[in-house]
Symmetry: C2
Subunit: 230 residues, 2 copies
Amino acid sequence: MWLRPERPARDRQLSRVAIVTAAVAVLDAEGTPGLSMRRVAAELAVTAGSLYWYVDGKDELLELAADQVTGEVDLPAAGSGDWRQALAQTARSQRAMLLRHPWAASVLSRVPNMGPNALRAADRTLATLAGAGFSPDLADAALTAVSNQVTGAVIAETAWRAVVTGPAATLADWQRDAAGYLAQVTERYPHVAARLTAPAPDMEAASEARFDLALDCLLDGLRARLGNRS
Amino acid sequence: MWLRPERPARDRQLSRVAIVTAAVAVLDAEGTPGLSMRRVAAELAVTAGSLYWYVDGKDELLELAADQVTGEVDLPAAGSGDWRQALAQTARSQRAMLLRHPWAASVLSRVPNMGPNALRAADRTLATLAGAGFSPDLADAALTAVSNQVTGAVIAETAWRAVVTGPAATLADWQRDAAGYLAQVTERYPHVAARLTAPAPDMEAASEARFDLALDCLLDGLRARLGNRS
DNA sequence: ACCTGAACACCGTTCAAGT
DNA sequence: ACCTGAACACCGTTCAAGT
């Protein structure tokens, strides 16, 4: 009788959050190609089929995972500060979050994020903009422009990072491996070759600077179109 | 002897371009989930394994397909017109192309497009910008900002389109199907709900207008940072 | 050189059957 | 109600074997 295992406190071993959390862990560790229902199930010491009791399928699981990580975005306090700083802070925080979870950016290309965390973030910024005198249309355009800039920048950056982190370990390694192709590129496309062969010791900082520049351009333009009410 | 089939003019039945073209056709018709090696092979009346003689694998095939459609982008003539119009035209043409081939945008999130067509386009714009007095860094930032805005906008737009074109056929249908969720959203997130429940009879035009606004903001900002040399 | 056919290891998803 | 186990139909990729 000492061998008789104690019955689990609950019959239920699984939960939706447990599944989503496991999925996020797998995605962070091995990226989109590493995610499979069987893999997530194994992570939870469970059978693949049982996941379908809590989740509709792989696509829904990916959407849930994407919204879970959107919860990591820092939102400025409700009615605090000026709109420009609020928008910039949200954008930078969202960019940082997507760079931490690169797979999330590619989920967005299949389904718009309409989970609670995404809606909350969008609602918060729209409220801020409305309070600053933006018309509904302009507020909409502003939110769209900034978040599109974020996702576009993250997609380009992670795609490039995947090249460098693939077979090659560093930028210099890649430049050596692809030397043949780069030579051909240099000959035919001199301007773009300058970008590729540049030493660029701190690529991360450079792309952050480029992002900040684009963001500033957008914010300047929005302020100009807002008129001089604020 | 009349039954003896004429020998084919060439032994070779396949070619890389034939494979890529078939892949693009499948992708356009059925999207990324519809693409499989076996499907492309069937399209060419051939066995799946034979594709590997011409192509390294599915990932490479996707990259080749993406670069093939980037060839559809209209590039402004080499040294013609002002930089602003050239950049805007390229961006709009690229946006239109990605909306025609939505799967291409999601390919970019895995691998940066370094195919010949993409390099040619990038080189052309960089040359135009250099000719207009842009420093290499600013030209780089300009190209990055604009093309990131394009991909971000297209990703958001096609993702949204997938929602509406999924089970529901039109925006009104979707609004009816998701009425329960929308009611909950309206209560909790009033600002964002206004976006979702709006009638918006011409969504395509609206998102094009938003894109043009963002593009104009970026171009204005770049001109300001260029100084008054041009 | 180029393509077939079959195999391998893996998928997502379903569903009876158990508890 | 919740989970297992097995099955189904499909993958990408490899590779001997044919021609």
